[in-house]
Every structure is written in C-alpha cells, then in structure tokens.
C-alpha cells in the first residue's frame, strides 16, 4: 500500500477540485479542464508503456481515442445500451485493431513505425469524416453522462468516475511495469538481442505494449465523450496524437506520475494559465507554441522528462548544503 500513496495523493488532489469549486474558490470551467487533464493523463500513461517502457512510437493515439469515443457515443445514444456494456465494447474493438498494429509493427523498423502509424491515423480520420451515420460527420456526435443502470451520473459524479479510473489505472500500470512483464518490455526496448536470448518473445511483448496503449487510449476516448458530451471528427487528428506524445515526453518517461505532470502541462496550463494572461493570452496558437518549445527544451536538456526536475532540484539543494559545510571558518 505504501508504494501506492502517491497515486492516491494525486487522485485526491483532483477530487478536491469540485469541492473547491462549490466553495467558490475555482471556476466551473476549471473543473472541465481538470477533467480533460485526467483522461488525457490516462491516455498518456498508456502511451508511456508503449513509448517509455517499450521504446515504440505511435502517432495513431488520437485515432484510437476517437474510435472509443464514437463507438461509445453510438452505443449509448443510438442503441441505448448501458454505459458499462458500451464501455466493454468501446474498448474491445480498438484493442483488437491495436493488436493487429502490434503484429504489423514486428516487420517495421523504428522510423518506419512512426510513418506507418501516421498512415493508420489518417485512415481513422478519413473513416470518422465519411461514416457519418456513425460519427455524425462534420457536425459531430452527441453523448450523455454515463448511465450506470442503477444510477445516472451528472457532471460532478462523472468527474469523480474519471478520477477513480485514473487512480485505478495508475495502480494497475504500476503493478505491470514493476513486474516480470515490465522488465520484459524494458529489455525489449534496451536490447532485442538480450531479450531473445533470455526467452522474451518479441511478438508477445509488442502485442502487450500496443494492447495497453490502445486500451488506455480507448478508455480515455470513452471518458472524453461522456464528460464533454460531444465529439467532432477533425478533433482526432495527428496534432492531438502529437500533444499526447508531448504529455509523455515532457512529463517523464518510464514513470507513472510523469504523464500526469505532462498532461497538466500540455492540457492544463494553456487553458488555466496562459489564456488568462493579459495580451498574450488572446493569441491564437499560444498553446501549440508553448508545447512545441517545451518538447524541444525537454528533449535537449531533460531527456527523461520534467519529473526529474524535482530530483535535480533536490540534488542541487543537497550539493549546496555540502558546499556550505565544506567551507571552513577562518
């Protein structure tokens, strides 16, 4: 239980927000932003397993999110299925597609993989725009707050649901990456030769990596559409995939908390901070510039993400303390 404390702490921090809002301390729109930070964090945690732990890149994340969102919206709105049943189907189908991609990825080397997933993302985008009986086409698709059979959620409870999902997935992912499976993924990333020599099947673990990333992306998409209650096709584009990639890179690869930080930076700060700034807050595209520069700066100077910034500050602090001690009194 001790190791999970930080996850519960993060979850709690998010859960406190709506209570602060009821007390009038933060605005109602901030809750929406925090909600989006949470489900993008979930998608980021999944992508981290693929990119950070397994060393594989995918630009199709937004497409899988969108697929989860549309299937769930369709099943709950058009077919009237209850939320939980719709959830299972809405993540199951993208999962299968993700596994197929994992299979294909075995044939493809590093930089080719990014390009191939780019192709996949484009196919998704095209499908979303064209299949308008399903996705509502350019005018978008509506959905409602989750209907859990015995309980119809409202915005407050949906927010809590997202927080609970986040905590749960953090714990589960932690368990996976600190186990034999996690070690196998890291070995696959570090040295395919060593992995094979140690009996790690590259096929099996690529499937695992892509499976987790796709599953979490689909979950994120479902949470998106039932919280925001709307989805339109041009939103699920490569730029979104890049933003989620930024979440992982900026926050901290190979940590569970990293994507939370990353999501807050990429999806939270632009809305909560940048837009409120005088003058420059009104500039179109400020968020992109902010994220773009951060990605570059982080990769060049903090390749493992901002989460290690805390570590470095601690070390710096300790070093200064030592220096103080080292200077003798004359």
């Amino acid at each position: 239980m001790k190791t999970y404390t930080k996850y519960f702490a993060v979850g709690l921090a998010f859960i406190i927000a709506p209570f602060l809002q009821k007390a009038g301390l933060i605005s109602s729109s901030s809750i929406i932003v925090l909600g989006t930070v949470m489900f993008y964090a979930i998608v980021g945690i999944g992508l981290n397993v693929l990119l950070g732990y397994s060393g594989l890149i995918s630009l199709g994340t937004a497409g899988f999110m969108g697929l989860g969102a549309y299937i769930s919206a369709y099943l709950t709105q058009d077919l009237g299925l209850p939320f939980l049943l719709s959830l299972i189907i809405s993540v199951g189908i993208p999962l299968i597609i993700g596994l197929v991609i994992g299979l294909i990825s075995l044939r493809i080397e590093g930089y080719y993989l990014a390009i191939a997933t780019l192709g996949v993302a484009e196919i998704f985008r095209q499908v979303f725009v064209e299949l308008d009986f399903f996705t509502g086409g350019f005018s978008g698709k509506n959905a409602g707050y989750p209907d859990l059979i015995f309980l119809n959620l409202d915005r407050f409870w949906t927010y809590i649901l997202i927080a609970v999902c986040l905590i749960g997935l953090m714990v589960v992912t932690h368990n996976i990456v600190y186990s034999r499976s996690g070690r196998a993924l890291l070995t696959m990333r570090g040295s395919e030769a060593a992995a094979q020599a140690m009996g790690i099947s590259l096929l099996k673990y690529r499937l695992l990596a892509f499976g987790i990333a796709t599953l979490y992306a689909a979950i994120g998409g479902v949470l998106y559409v039932h919280f925001i209650r709307f989805a339109y096709p041009s939103g699920w584009n490569v730029n979104l995939s890049l933003q989620i990639l930024a979440v992982v890179v900026i926050g901290g690869m190979r940590t569970i908390i990293g994507p939370i930080i990353g999501s807050f930076v990429v999806f939270g700060i632009p809305e909560l901070v940048l837009k409120q700034l005088p003058i420059i807050g009104n500039i179109d595209g400020l968020a992109y510039i902010f994220t773009g520069i951060l990605i570059i700066v982080v990769i060049l100077f903090y390749p493992n993400g901002l989460i290690y910034l805390g570590h470095d500050i601690k070390t710096l602090f300790n070093k200064e303390k030592v220096n103080e001690k080292a200077v003798p009194d004359h």
Binding site: N175, I176, R180, G190, A195, M198, I200, S201
Partner: protein, 270 residues
C-alpha cells in the same frame, strides 16, 4: 563414459558468397569447459551466433542434450526458444538494461521460469507475488556468490565494466542452465580481472554444475581453464584437443603467427 552436451555437425554458413563457417564439426562433453579459438576473422562470432540461433546456418546441425536427456536440433528453433532448453549466452557488448537495477537485470534471466502472466501481475495475485519473491531470493543468492549482493539495487548505468561482466554472468545462471556460452568474456579485462574470471568460471562449473563454452581471444584464459579447445581459421577447423595438444599444433601456430621457420617450433602461446 562422457555424455555429449552439444554436438556441432557440418555447420556451414555463407555471406554473400564467402563461406564464413565451412563444414565445422566438434562436440562438447558434459561438465567440460570448452574453448573456441581462432585469429581475427576466423568466424568465431559467426559460429557463436549459429549455435544460439541469431543466425540460421545454411546447412548442418546443432544437437543439444537437455536436462532430461532429450536431444534437440537447435537449428529448428526460434532464437527466443533456445533458453528454455537450457542454453544461455552472454554478449560481447554486455547487453544489460541500463534502466534496471543489478538485481532486476538478473531477474530478466529468470524470465522463462515465471509462470504468471500480465493479468496476474496487474492485480498482484498471491501467486505472482510468491513467484517474484522466490526468484528474488534466487537472484540474491547468485549475487552473493558473485560478491555483488551489496550492490543489488544499484542501477546498471554507470557501473564499471568488470562489474557489468559479472552481472551478465549472473544473469545466465538464473535459469540454472545446462550450458552457458560466453562471448569473449575476457574482452576489456586487465590481467588481474582475467585471473579472477578464470577462478570464477571454474567455480561456476563446479557450483552450478553447468558446461561452459568459451569463445575467446585471450590465450592465457583459454589455456588455463579449458579442458579441450577447438581452433578454427577461415571458418574451418584446424585443430581440436587439450590445451597442450593445441599449443603444439603446427596449423594453429601458423594461423596465429604466420608461416614459421623450421627452427622456431617451440612457440609457447602464453
């Protein structure tokens, strides 16, 4: 009657028309420390990779006898299936994982001994916790044997070379293999470290009851600890036997030193 552990029959592989390994045959008995030597470019690494199925030979067989006395032709297997039969290798470039601790790197060596899958790990079932504990103990025992127990939680990144080599050796022992194949284990080690390595390899053979195949350049190590040696040159066998026999083998001397004058036959390869 000595039991055969690994038998190489007529191994042949060519790259772009050039025969890197040419109808090579030799066998290793159980409990031996066996050396494969040859000058640069002789094809030692290629033979190594053909045995461990990182390359598929064009023809020939690699017959391995496992713990239950079943005989398999390794050529018919996929690379990642080799270890489950009891054959583990090391790498010239010491392929350890920088982001994992020393102990965790050892646990990777026991990957095939875990029976639990992702779902069990995800929900930390009793069985998966038990397995992890057991294999952690096994890893710690090996680290203790290697004298590295105090470093078990340190990350691999930043460790000195000598320690990396030891950790990789430890990793091979985790699955209690029948045969370990070492790719130039003395590469990059100084004299003292090499002597230590020799001692270590002999005690591994005695403690863990495994057979050892050594592909090596360092003659001192090879002559010191190997029971038998196979010497190759240009992919072909030029000699096989005990260290003394190999040392006095004219063909081997020629391969290493070039054609020698008749008067200078006593070259001690020390």
């Amino acid at each position: 009657m000595k039991k055969q552990c690994l038998t190489i029959k007529d191994l042949t592989i060519a790259f772009g028309g050039i025969k890197a390994v040419d109808h090579l045959s030799f066998h290793i008995d159980e409990g031996e420390i066996y050396g494969l030597i040859g000058p640069n470019g002789a094809g030692k690494t290629t033979v190594f990779n053909c045995i461990t199925q990182f390359y598929k030979p064009d023809s020939g067989a690699v017959m391995f006898t496992d713990k239950d006395n079943n005989i398999f032709n390794l050529v018919q297997m996929k690379t990642h299936q080799i270890i489950s039969h009891g054959l583990v290798r090391t790498f010239q470039n010491v392929e350890l994982i920088h982001e994992l601790s020393i102990l965790d790197n050892l646990l990777v060596g026991a990957h095939i001994d875990f029976k639990t899958g992702v779902l069990a790990h995800a929900f930390r079932t009793k069985k998966s916790k038990q397995e992890e504990r057991l294999l952690l103990e096994r890893g710690e025992k090996i680290l203790d044997f290697l004298g590295l127990l105090d470093k078990k939680d340190e990350l691999i990144g930043g460790q000195p070379y000598g320690i990396l080599k030891k950790v990789e050796l430890g990793r091979t022992l985790m699955s209690h293999p029948k045969l370990i194949i070492l790719d130039e284990p003395a590469a990059g080690l100084n004299d003292t470290e090499t002597v230590e390595l020799a001692k270590l390899l002999k005690s591994i053979r005695d403690e863990y009851k495994c057979t050892i195949l050594l592909v090596e350049h360092d003659m001192r190590l090879v002559m010191d600890i190997c029971d038998r040696i196979c010497a190759i040159s240009f992919g072909k066998k030029i000699g096989e036997g005990t260290p003394i026999e190999i040392q006095s083998n004219k063909d081997v001397q020629e391969a290493y030193l070039g054609k020698v004058d008749e008067d200078e036959t006593d070259i001690n390869i020390r």
